[in-house]
Symmetry: C2
Subunit: 319 residues, 2 copies
């Protein structure tokens, strides 16, 4: 019987999950809604039902050996999600304890979603031989997983790696966390959308984006417009890359990684986001760090990177 | 015979050194000029002569077991000082190799001056029981030593911990490193002096600082003026604390330390710098980090903190 783990990636809108073997092969993968559940208990019950159904579809005989969870504001030490700005569930959610009610004798481990992605990059991706690297997830928000001396940085309270809430502007954009001017309000799928809307207000150039409402607009539409030469879209990528580049330079000055990996919705824009980010990152670096740090797209397949990361976390725990 | 080490702290203006035993007792301590030597070889020869003279003054029989050096842009892996903006010696200086010509069979180890201070804080100071903390040195420039999981963060190239060159303003003050807007151009003994001069230009309030030239002005004079209620001086501390507080909040979001220690010339201002820094740090923190991170003055005596740090580095190497 083959050992497998359940990898769960809790995002603001969707939860992705997969049943993954030790080599990183996904035997089953699906997703369910996060945002439509106002109560964590109801969300979890649905997730567990879906998991049990999924196990029945797997032809091989498998044994569930562990559960790994990546979640926004996930605390590795306590197994909790705490005050996550992009989730409906407020306060402190004892996620691991609640899952243990369903998965009695099986190890359940949780971390920040971007930390999980960093473990996935190390075990299954492009960071296999690296001891110092950073993974940045550009989704609804901006997450980061930081590896120093071959270990994830958790910090004294388990919350390290919140690059998305570093400060860009003193009286900048309102953030879901309650502060103003956080990096993720500028650099994320949502951030670039906000930039497009500011530019639509400030510029008079025509743009196909003038026909799309705020709620309809996606990072993908902005990429497509930029691909067709839309000035507003191109300026939005340049602006996003400038802010991200300067903040990556700051992170490099602190931990001096070998490489920085980008993944998530906005990273799918490829060169549109990579080129301005790389240019401004190099300009903002102390000379001793220049042309030393690779800025790369994640080596994990976009569709299941986060699930693979959560699975890798479970396998790491199992040893 | 008692084992001792030579601890050397290379600063932009002065080099401090001491002969220190394993318990952190300083048997001899003195200083010499850094800035008047345009050639590293001449500087080193003088330092070695002074060291030999100092050994003769020690009454006990001692055995020199190691040499530890803290230096700006010091590279632990390579034993070099590389492109230090505040030193006369340009390019890459093979400091450890050159010292080995004088100290043949004795271990010589070098790191960034602020990294040395962090090791000193851990071994002799207030961070004895901490696994995650940051030390900030506020002298001519701003240095930082970052400890994560009980280990100094060196990064993949040995240059991690350059918080002084993170980016405050896109087109900000010219920095010695060649960039503009680096943190140390605002927050350091030199940085607050530059702020005072900007404020003297912008404000019309009377100030005793209007009688002092740029080259004469020191951080101590600014502290004294602030202590007497001088508006310009007080505003300079508020401004400095605002910028430092926001950047410390960023560093906390990345490594989540238990405490941050300040030391060096500007830290001697005490509450004048601590209060605005603490206030703005808390305001700029993601809520999950608030009221968790202690902002403290270094537990090492100011006069020999850096020398103790360099000595601690040598003792750490000796095991």
């Amino acid at each position: 019987m083959k050992d497998v783990v359940l990898g769960i990636d809790i995002g603001g809108t969707y939860t992705k999950y997969g049943i993954v073997d030790r080599d990183g092969n996904s035997l089953y993968e699906s997703f369910t809604s996060t945002s439509k559940y106002n109560e964590f208990d109801a969300y979890l019950e649905n997730l567990h039902v879906e998991f049990e159904e999924s196990m029945e579809t797997i032809k091989e005989k498998v044994n569930l050996a562990g559960v790994g969870i990546g979640a926004p504001n996930g605390n590795y030490y306590r197994g909790t999600i705490e005050y996550a700005p992009n989730l409906n569930w407020k306060g402190v959610i004892p996620v691991v304890d609640k899952l243990k009610e369903y998965f009695k004798d099986i190890p359940v481990v949780l971390t920040n979603d971007a930390n999980a992605a960093a473990i996935g990059e190390k075990i299954y991706g492009s960071a296999k031989n690296m001891r110092d690297f950073i993974v940045i997830t550009l989704g609804t928000g901006l997450g980061s997983g930081i590896v120093v001396n071959d270990e994830l940085v958790y910090g004294h309270d388990g919350f390290a790696g919140e690059l998305g809430h570093t400060n860009v502007k003193l009286r900048g954009r309102q953030c879901g966390c309650g502060k103003k001017g956080c990096l993720e309000t500028y650099v994320s799928a949502t951030g670039i959308k906000r930039t497009v809307f500011r530019l639509l207000a400030e510029r008079i150039s025509s743009s196909e984006l003038r026909d799309i409402s705020y709620n309809e607009l996606t990072a993908k539409m902005i990429s497509e417009a930029a691909g067709k030469g839309d000035e507003i879209a191109l300026e939005a990528f340049e602006y996003t890359g400038r802010i991200l580049g300067a903040k990556l330079a700051d992170a490099i000055a602190i931990t001096s990684p070998e490489a920085i990996f980008l993944l998530g919705g906005l990273a799918k824009a490829g060169d549109l986001i990579m080129q301005p980010t790389k240019k401004h990152m190099e300009e903002s670096l102390l000379p001793i760090f220049r042309n030393k740090v690779d800025l790369l797209l994640s080596g994990l397949h976009e569709t299941n990177a986060a699930v693979l990361g959560a699975s890798a976390l479970a396998w790491k725990e199992l040893g």
